[in-house]
Structures are given as structure tokens and as C-alpha cells.
Amino acid sequence: MEFFEQFAVPNPTPTIYLSMVAIGLTLIAVLAGISYFKKWGYLWREWLTTVDHKRIGIMYLISALLMLFRGGVDALMMRAQTSRAGNELLSSAEYNEIFTTHGVVMIFFMAMAFITALMNFVVPLQIGARDVAYPRLNALSFWLYFMGAMLFNLSFVIGGSPSSGWTSYFPLAGNELSPHIGTNYYMIALQIAGLGTLITGINFIVTIFKMRAPGMKLMKMPLFTWTALITNLLITFAFPVLTVALAMGTMDRLFGTHFFTMDNGGMAMLWANFFWVWGHPEVYILVLPAFGIYSEVISTFSGRNLYGYTSMVVSIVVISTLAFLVWVHHFFTMGQGAFVNSIFSITTMAIAIPTGVKIFNWLFTMWRGKIRLTVPMLYSVGFIPIFTIGGVTGVMLGIASADYQYHNTMFLVAHFHLVIIPGVVFAMLAGMTYWWPKMFGFMLNEKIGKWAFWNIAIGTCLAFFPMFIAGLDGQARRMYTYSEEAGFGIWNLLSFFGGLGLAMGFILIVFNVYYSARYATRDIGDDPWDARTLEWATRTPVPEYNFAVQPVVDSREPYWDAKHEGKTLFKDKISDIHMPNNSGMPFIMCVFFFIFGFGLVFSLWSLVIVSSVGIAVCLFLRSFEQDDGRHIHAEDVQETERKMGGDDR
């Protein structure tokens, strides 16, 4: 019995038991459903073993939406608990677990997955490539991310969740003050998922550098590809810092080392520094691809080329450089003195300059355009004002002295949500709606989409604007309760209503997917939005080889020019196409990673050893494998193209 006791959650309540039962039943239902419809083979052949960037992108997308749901439920519970003074819906321990998992799930497993989903699906198409540089590694990235996410979510039902905040500051997260295994989940699940992200970073850098269509010089790349390139560079140089920090945290917790402990020379501030040396670039890792999406969407739906392309590119590069020079602003209050704070205050505020350039360029892109307010465009247009407010409050927080008053308050919470929600979530929803027809061959319903947008936009404002006021009135973040006299009640109640609006928006999005899948027409052509870049030059939905013939490019908007200036994109004849083979190895290897992680969390060394051997065997087998891929014959390509398009290219 003792062996099993370590797997029990520390603060069980009827809600948690109910959730456990619900999760268990759902799992059984899913497995039974797959068996009943005899879909195991299909699942294995077409999805679990796929190396196709489009399918991997779609799997990322589904995972991201699932995680959005999980993180969103967490958020709603938090807002419900704080909606009135002295509420007793949740205990302190539960609340702490919930805001911790909310942050981790939203940043690592929702936002990261969402941007990776869109990068995976879109970047190869935008540069006219047939796949990413390393399709097999791409699958490995996804499955590492997926297993990391699953391991983290498992903490809810087995062993208990981490509860020291998504920043997991030591010494609070150390063994002495958090004796429970929750934080082990944090350290190890993020390590596994982070490894996947790092591999994605390398993969996409090489893809973008080496696989662009002939004629696509760097300064002819679409903006989304540019932002993807810079984001992946940031990933490559920032994630190793997190890797090291997590490894040290893991060692502190599992092996009793003294990196961040309170005794034997340990230094808790080191964790905070490492965390934010990674953490601030991470913000730009998320937001830059979003900027790329806005650039594409605003340009398409204004019917105009992007204004100030060069200054857009320059500002991305400047932002990415500054991203590494501002981390101290996350703890101006740590007592490093006025001199250090002043320097980081200036670098922080300086980021507003390139960001401002981007905002103005988007506005000038709409100037003299012909603006169609479709759902993706609505998100982009809604993004500008809300993000501006989030952004200017960021400048206000960047003033070190004033930060002494904002730090750790709801003001800060309002700021970063008003940056991340319009800056990342709106962009992802815009991008998802925009590229949806390319992914699935039908469009999402515009009317439901608009309803969803308004719910989300108004919900965001309602949920987060009151927090500015609560913060200035002295409400610290992460407080599970407050007294009646504190006077925060009304602001928190408004926030809760805003949260409900966001939830409604999410429900509408899910409903939209169902509704459109069922009723939307499949006859939408290859270019339903009248777009400008290469991904629209191929068929809808995209065949596995992407382009029957490799496009040749000589401008920034090759497809627009092909449509309107009669330029030829596809000059060659159709010939045999070389494609990579599917492989089960990434999936199997990541199952071992999952076991490995689980073993580490509970210090079950036998599991750790067995799974390590499994991983090593996979690596060896991969090294010896000879797999030169396969060819799709020209006739088959022609056949597919004829079926899909009619006209032959």
C-alpha cells in the first residue's frame, strides 16, 4: 500500500475525484471508440507515424486547443474563487496549484504549441518547400512536446500538481518549502517539452535557410516566415538556458544539490535570473510569429502589400536582440540598486520603439487599402487597440521606480494578459481561421466566428482592465482570498464576468468547428481569401507533396503577382517527387521519454533505467537505419492534380 500512497493527490476534494472519474471515463470512451470504429490502424499509419509537416501542424493545433481548454478552466476557477471577498470555493492549496498550472499550461503547452502548429503548417508552404529540413526530427519534436504536456497534466490526478507559480521561484519550489513531488512534474515535464521545442528551433532555422524556393532571397520572404526564422533563432539560444535551470532545479529536488537552496552556499536569485534570461526571450518567441500572422492577415484583407517591409524586418531583428537584454525588469525589486535598474529600465522601454514601428506599419498598410472585415481581420484590428494598451502599460512597468508599486500586483497581471492575449491568442485564432481552409478544405463560418470574436474581445477587456485598478489599490497577484474591507470585490467580480465572456468565445469557436465541418461547402477553390503569398498557390486541401512543381519566385508577393501580373510561378514539368517515409520511431521513443519522466518524478529508478535503455536503443537503431525515402511518380502526381484542380499546371 505504501508504494501506492505516493501517487495520491495531496489535497483531494470531491471535485478532483469527480474530475478523475470524468477523465478516466473519457479516456475509456476514446479508446473504445477507436477500437469500435477500427481506427487503430488508421491512427497509427496516418498520424502517430507521420512525418508530414502539415499533419504534425494539425496535431499541434489540436493539442493547443485542448490545452487552451485546460488552461481556460483553470483561469475560470481562479476568477470564480476571487469573484467576491472571502469566497470559499477553493482552498489556498488548490488555488495555488491552479494558478501554477494555468500559467505553465498556457505558456508552454498552449501558446508554444499554437505557434509551432502554424509554423509547421505554413512555413514550408510559404517558402515553396515540400517539407521541413528534418521531417523525422519534426515528428520527434511533436511527440516530445506531447508527452511533456501529458506528463504535466497527469499531475492533476497522480501525485498532485506543482504549486509554486509558473515561475517556480526557489527556495519556495525547493524541497524544504515544497516537499511534495508537484514541482518535480514541473521540472521534468518542461524539460521534455523544451527539448522538443529546441529541436523545432534547429529544424526550422535550417528549413528557412536552405529550402526556400529558387529566387526567394531573404528579403523576399513573407513576413510570417521572417518572424518564424527569428523566433527559432531565439528558441535555439534561449531554451538551453531553461534546460540548464531546469536540470539544476531537478538536481536540487532529486539529488539534494545546493544550487538554489537556502544553505550550503545555494543562491535562489540565480534561478530567478536564469528563468528570466530564458523567460523574456520566450515572450518574443511567442509574440513574433503573431506579428508575422498579423502582417499577412492585414496585408491580405487590406488588399495591399505590407507597408514598410524593410523596417518591419529590421524591427523584428532589433526586438529579438533587445529580448536578451531586459530580463532584470522582472525583478527590479530584488535590490540590485538604482544603477543596474536604470540600465535595464532603459533597455526595456527601448523595446517599445521597434514595436511601435510595427503598429504604425500595420496602420499604414490599411491606409488606402480596401479593408474586408473578415474574422481573421477582426482579430487583427481588435489586436491593435488592446495590444497598444497592454504595450503602453508595459512601458509604464519598465520605469523601475514605478515598478516598485506595480510589481507583484494585479496591475502586472493585467499588463501581461493584455499583451499576450491580443498579441498571441488573437493572432493564433486569426491565423487558424485564415489558414483553416488550407488545412481542412473548408472555411469556418464567418458569422459564428464574428460572434466568437466579439465575446473574446469584450471578455478580454472586461476581464483585465479592472485588474489595473485592483492592482493600483494594492491587490497582490496570486492571493486566493481578500477581505471585504480591502475593497477589491467589485473589480474582481467584473473580471469574473470577463472570464465568462472568454469562455463563451471559446465555446463558440469549438461550435464553429463542428458546425462548419458539418455544413460548410467544400467548393472553395485554392485561394478563398484572395491572398498574396505562396501557400495559396497550391491546392486546397494541400496534397502531401505540397507543390506538384517547385515554384520559382521573383517578388515578395509571388502569388499576387502571378494572379495580377501574369507571372508564371510553376515553370518546370511535373516529375517524380521524393518524400520521406513515415516512422514509428519518434512516437515510440517519446513513450520511453514519458516513462523516463514519470520515473524521475517519483524517483522510481527502475523505470528510469529501463526507459533510458529504451531511448538509447532507439537512438542506435536510428543511427543504423538506412532510409532514403520514397518517390511519388509523376503520373500519380498528375492524377492527383487533375482530380483536385481541373486545370493542369
Binding site: A268, M334, G337, M349, M366
Partner: protein, 293 residues
């Protein structure tokens, strides 16, 4: 367009609130440091409001003027690559704003870190504020008093809080007196404030530190120098002395309410030294603190 109205409505209500009836804690300073920070915040709000207005106006203009329903059916948007003057302006004006705010930031940060303006001629009163889950221990070495979860502060006297923690990182914050600063293990940080109005205000730990974090608050009684002296005398007459055993019991995680002792824990459980690598150059009193670095 209703969205724009919504935004401006929200913004207006926000501003009304700032000037409105019941002032928010941060905008209701009771001392020079908090007043300084309030001014800085107001400067930044007004500056940033300018930016917001410009962006909103441009956005509304573009949306009204260039909606496809407002443009002729055969209208073909032109190709415009950009204009170096316009783009130069988009860089130049933000640079000016940032330069202005940087000056404000640097000046006010130095000021916020030092003894408040107008109090520089007085020797600051030193109070050690140390946190343990989830309490604040206040040691008055001059007065030889230790309190738990409440403070008595003399009005119009500069006060230097020396902060550290026995466990999790905490943040010492009395919003109406000044900004916050972390209290950490193994490192002493300093916070300079002064109170210019008598009255009872609150302070708290604002940095999440575990289960009891929400209730880790304390009362601050700002009184006249005379009343303060009376309080000191009274404590010495009535309170129990603090010994090591009692203190170790106090350190156990939990909430204990307010307590008063004579003597301080510093005699048997001394505060950590200032951590020199992490300090800026401006600490002139470093030498006396520095021991074996």
C-alpha cells in the same frame, strides 16, 4: 465601431476613477517616496495616453475611410513600399518619448532608492523587517524592541528598513509609504521611506510564498515622535523579553497575529550581510557591513 466606444468608455471610467472619490492605495501617498512614485506614474500615464490616442485615432480613421464597403467596387489599392520620412517619424517620435521617460525613470529610481528628499539631514531610524512563513518580524535595534505583524513609525523621520527572509522570497510593501522590495535569505536589502501623515495604514508581503501568503499582512501605525516614544516606554514596561526558544517557535509556518517583545532576535540570530555583488555602486555605507567577502 462599438468597440472603439467601449474602449474609450472604459478608459474614461478608469480616468474618472483616478481623479474620483475614493483614492486607490498607490494614489493616496502618506509619505514622500510614495508621492514621488505617484507623480512618476501619473507622468507615464499621461504620456502613454497620448500614444494611445494617436493609435486609436489612426485606427478608427483607417477603418472608417478604407472599409471595402466605403470604397468603389473597382478600386484597386496601390502598391506602396513605404516612405523613409514616414517611417523615420515612426521611429523618431517614439525615441523622443522613450528618452523622456528614461530620464524620468533613472532620476526617480535613484531618488526612490535613497533617503527621501527633505529628510536627508536626519539620521534614518533602522528597522529590520524579516519574513518567515507567513509573518513579518520587525526588530527595532535602537529601541531594543521586536514586534510581530505590526509597526509603529514616528512621523517625519526617515526610516531605513533592512529586509531579509528566513525562508521563501517575500516582498515588503507598504503602498502608501513607498515601493516594495524583496526580502530574501542570505542577503540584506534596504528600503528607504518616511511617513508624513499620521494614521493607520497597511502593508503586506506581495510576493507569493506558499499557502498562507494571502494573509501575510501587517499594520502600520504612523504616530508623532512623542507618541512613538511613549509606545517604546510602554513596551519596555509591559512586554516579555524575546529569547531564542520563543523566537524559533515564532518561525514555524503559520499565522500568529500581533505580538510584542523586548529585545530583538538579532542578538542570537543575526541578519545576513548585504550582498555586495548584487548591489549598485551607490551604497556608501557598505564598508561597515562588509565582513568576509
Amino acid at each position: 465601431m462599438k468597440k472603439q466606444w467601449l474602449f474609450s468608455g472604459l478608459l474614461m471610467s478608469f480616468l474618472l476613477f483616478l481623479g474620483g472619490c475614493e483614492p486607490l492605495a498607490v494614489f493616496d501617498p502618506k509619505g514622500p517616496q510614495a508621492a514621488l512614485l505617484k507623480d512618476v506614474i501619473m507622468i507615464s500615464i499621461w504620456t502613454m495616453l497620448g500614444v494611445v490616442v494617436v493609435v486609436f485615432a489612426m485606427l478608427i480613421y483607417m477603418l472608417v475611410k478604407y472599409r471595402s464597403s466605403k470604397t468603389p467596387a473597382d478600386y484597386k489599392p496601390p502598391i506602396i513600399e513605404g516612405n523613409k520620412w514616414v517611417e523615420g517619424l515612426c521611429v523618431g517620435i517614439p525615441v523622443l518619448i522613450i528618452v523622456f521617460l528614461s530620464i524620468v525613470s533613472v532620476q526617480s529610481t535613484y531618488e526612490a532608492e535613497s533617503v527621501p528628499e527633505g529628510y536627508k539631514d536626519q539620521e534614518p531610524m533602522v528597522i529590520y523587517a524579516s519574513s518567515s512563513n507567513w509573518k513579518w518580524h520587525f526588530s527595532y535595534p535602537e529601541q531594543d524592541i521586536e514586534t510581530l505583524n505590526y509597526l509603529y513609525l514616528p512621523k517625519d523621520r526617515p526610516i531605513e528598513f533592512r529586509l531579509y527572509s528566513f525562508d521563501a522570497i517575500s516582498s515588503f510593501w507598504i503602498p502608501q509609504l513607498g515601493g516594495q522590495k524583496y526580502a530574501m535569505t542570505g542577503m540584506l536589502t534596504k528600503l528607504n521611506v518616511a511617513a508624513s501623515e499620521e494614521g493607520e495604514i497597511w502593508g503586506r508581503n506581495s510576493n507569493f510564498s506558499g499557502e498562507g501568503f494571502a494573509e501575510q499582512t501587517f499594520n502600520v501605525n504612523v504616530v508623532s515622535q512623542q507618541e512613538f516614544d511613549e509606545w517604546v516606554t510602554e513596551v519596555h514596561n509591559t512586554a516579555e523579553p524575546l529569547d531564542e526558544e520563543t523566537f524559533n517557535e515564532l518561525l514555524e509556518p503559520g499565522h500568529l497575529g500581533q505580538k510584542t517583545f523586548t529585545g530583538t532576535h538579532l542578538s542570537f540570530n543575526p541578519a545576513p550581510e548585504e550582498h555586495t555583488e548584487h548591489q549598485g555602486e551607490e551604497h556608501e555605507d557598505m564598508n561597515e557591513e562588509e565582513m568576509d567577502h
